[in-house]
């Protein structure tokens, strides 16, 4: 039982770190553009599918993880500059509905391009074995995933807190009128923020591809989870998004030990409790 719990906590940590990447991406877009990106889930799916195709073409998983998410960024750029930007003057409900429509179109595009049948991606050879951690024997890829996502998260944190571009992004999330007044080209900031959000979603999809099956509906499944992360975190909190991503990942995998059918529903119960007990979220102030 102890081994089972330990390995489930590690599983939860692995999916939780992926959730954290998706959640941080959504938080950035939400904070900057003031819209919940309904296409965020489908961008995650595209990250996984691009990875699959690049692995098929080149045989290199590492290359796929490096390049795949960049194609997702391109989709993000097009979405922001051709769609959302045209809707700035409209009520923001319309931006959100536009993104929902785009999510529908892109999900169908996945079916048209890759077909309705699911795929799986094999982890690279060096990471396909198992590792004996002493207290538990654990798949090497998942272990590497935990390490890599942790490093990415730290890098992202340093980027946002230690660089001048990061400062602009954080300032924009606090008060976007003010950074526009101070002479920053707000359109460019919006586009790059949306691109960064898309990148994080795509990267999570790419890294997730060896541990989950690729299906056209995987984006639709991720979208509500990313919303739960943001609600639990508190709107606009990057640290909160990381913490709540890990939290719900572990909550899900622990629930599946005792009550597997409820493991998908448990995160929504957590969200409901959070709203009642601490409406501003873990780290939120608003």
């Amino acid at each position: 039982m102890g081994i089972l719990i330990a390995s489930q906590i590690l599983n939860g940590l692995a999916t939780g770190m992926l959730y954290a990447l998706v959640g941080v991406g959504l938080t950035l877009v939400l904070g900057m553009l003031n819209i919940p990106n309904f296409a965020h889930g489908v961008l995650y799916a595209f990250g996984a599918y691009f990875t699959y195709t690049i692995v098929q073409l080149t045989g290199s998983f590492y290359l796929a993880v490096l390049v795949g998410p960049l194609f997702v960024v391109l989709i993000g750029f097009v979405l922001e500059s051709q769609g959302i930007r045209r809707l700035y003057s409209a009520h923001h409900d319309y931006q959100l509905l536009f993104l929902f429509a785009v999510a529908l179109i892109l999900q169908e595009a996945i079916i048209l391009i890759w077909g309705p049948v699911g795929f799986s991606v094999l982890p690279p050879k060096a990471l396909s074995g198992i590792v004996d951690l002493g207290f538990v024997i654990y798949p090497a890829y998942r272990l590497a995933l935990i390490v890599v996502t942790t490093l990415i998260t730290i890098a992202l944190w340093l980027f946002l807190t230690r660089t001048s571009i990061g400062a602009i992004v954080r300032a924009g999330m606090e008060n976007r009128e003010m950074i526009a007044v101070l002479g920053t080209d707000i359109n460019r900031v919006f586009m790059w923020t949306f691109g960064l959000g898309a990148y994080l979603a795509g990267l999570a999809g790419a890294l997730a591809s060896p541990i989950i099956g690729l299906t056209p509906s995987m984006g639709g499944d991720m979208l509500p989870i990313s919303f739960v992360i943001v609600v639990i975190a508190g709107l606009g909190s990057i640290l909160g998004a990381i913490a709540s991503g890990v939290l719900i990942g572990i909550a899900q995998s622990l629930t599946s030990i005792w009550w597997p059918e409820a493991s998908n529903a448990v995160i929504y119960v957590l969200m409901g409790l959070m709203i009642v007990l601490r409406p501003q979220g873990l780290f939120g102030t608003r």
């Binding site: 919303f227 969200m271 409406p279």
Partner: protein, 321 residues
């Protein structure tokens, strides 16, 4: 009925009821009316209270599953199962509403969507009751409404009662307060109204009528398909409401008819129907934000030189959007 509905609204309702079963099979006509009830109910929140819910498939699905489970597993007749399902949906929407109305704006949208997904997973996992992925088949319409036409007439009666109740609700003092909250929540609160309480009333009313729509829908094709509780169907109900026109009372009904027509037509030629839905959805959002009723108003102004379709909330809605 006089004074309750203005002439264009009345004409729309009567024309729909007469024309639908002529151009379509009566069951499909009944389906349009049930979807119409759901879209009109969503608009109680969206158009009249200013709250965008992405979770209405949850109420539709709860109504439908509740009816289905009572009828299939416990041999309830339609006439007892439907009212019970409505009560259950009302209670659930009150509980969910208690949590949702605490937050507004973006939070509200995300929370309703998330709760929708929770109920989807419940329907998906609780296979002994709901049939899981395959849906819940085996409902039987009672002999009184067994054939298509008598079932259509039954749906029409329910639809008319519902429409009258909803219109009375939006014209009531409570409905007026909701519109005041939509236009300016801070002012409504400053005037002394308990904004959260009124939002909760709107939430429950909207959920209850959507649950009723779902309960009737269960008997349309005598099956509860699982996709009717999926969050994509929440998007569908929103689509109906918006394309019909959320600024008018009756717009969502027109939207429901348009949605069904589009789906029936497209799926004859191409099985990637959601793609078409997405494209039309995007075009509506980019170019036709006022919906069909809004376009009819503009057209009427050009042809007749005056506003022919005067809608319940048109005067205040422009300020809102």
């Amino acid at each position: 009925m006089n004074r309750l509905f203005n002439l264009p609204t009345l004409i729309t309702i009567v024309a729909m009821i007469i024309l639908l079963p002529i151009v379509q099979r009566p069951v499909v006509a009944a389906e349009v009316l049930t979807l119409g009830i759901a879209a009109l109910a969503l608009n109680l929140l969206l158009g009249y209270t200013g709250l965008l819910s992405f979770g209405h498939a949850m109420f539709f699905g709860i109504g439908a599953y509740c009816t289905g489970i009572l009828a299939v597993k416990y041999d309830f007749s339609a006439f007892t199962a439907i009212p019970i399902a409505v009560v259950v949906t009302a209670v659930v929407s009150w509980l969910i509403g208690l949590v949702c109305v605490r937050r507004s704006g973006l939070y509200f949208i995300m929370i309703t969507l998330a709760f929708n997904q929770m109920f989807y997973f419940i329907a998906y996992s609780w296979t002994s009751m709901t049939g899981g992925e395959d849906g819940l088949p085996g409902l039987r319409r009672p002999s009184l409404i067994a054939d298509q036409w008598s079932f259509y007439i039954f749906t029409v009666i329910v639809f008319l009662i519902t429409v009258v109740l909803m219109k009375r609700f939006v014209d009531s003092p409570t409905g007026r307060i909701l519109q005041a909250i939509r236009d300016n929540p801070a002012r409504a609160a400053a005037t002394g109204y308990d904004v959260e309480r009124y939002k909760l009333i709107a939430f429950v009313a909207s959920g209850l009528f959507t649950g009723l729509a779902g309960a009737i829908f269960a008997f349309v094709f005598e099956i509860v398909p699982i996709d009717k509780i999926h969050l994509l169907f929440s998007g569908d109900i929103l689509f109906m409401t918006l394309i019909g026109g959320s600024a008018s009372f009756i717009g969502p009904l027109i939207g429901a008819a348009f949605y069904t027509w589009l789906q029936e037509t497209v799926s004859l030629y191409w099985d990637r129907w959601p793609m078409v839905l997405g494209i039309v959805f995007a075009l509506v959002v980019l170019f036709f934000r006022t919906g069909i009723v809004g376009m009819a108003e503009v057209f009427g102004q050009k042809v007749f030189g005056k506003r022919v379709v005067k809608t319940a909330s048109a005067e205040t809605t422009e300020a809102h959007r």
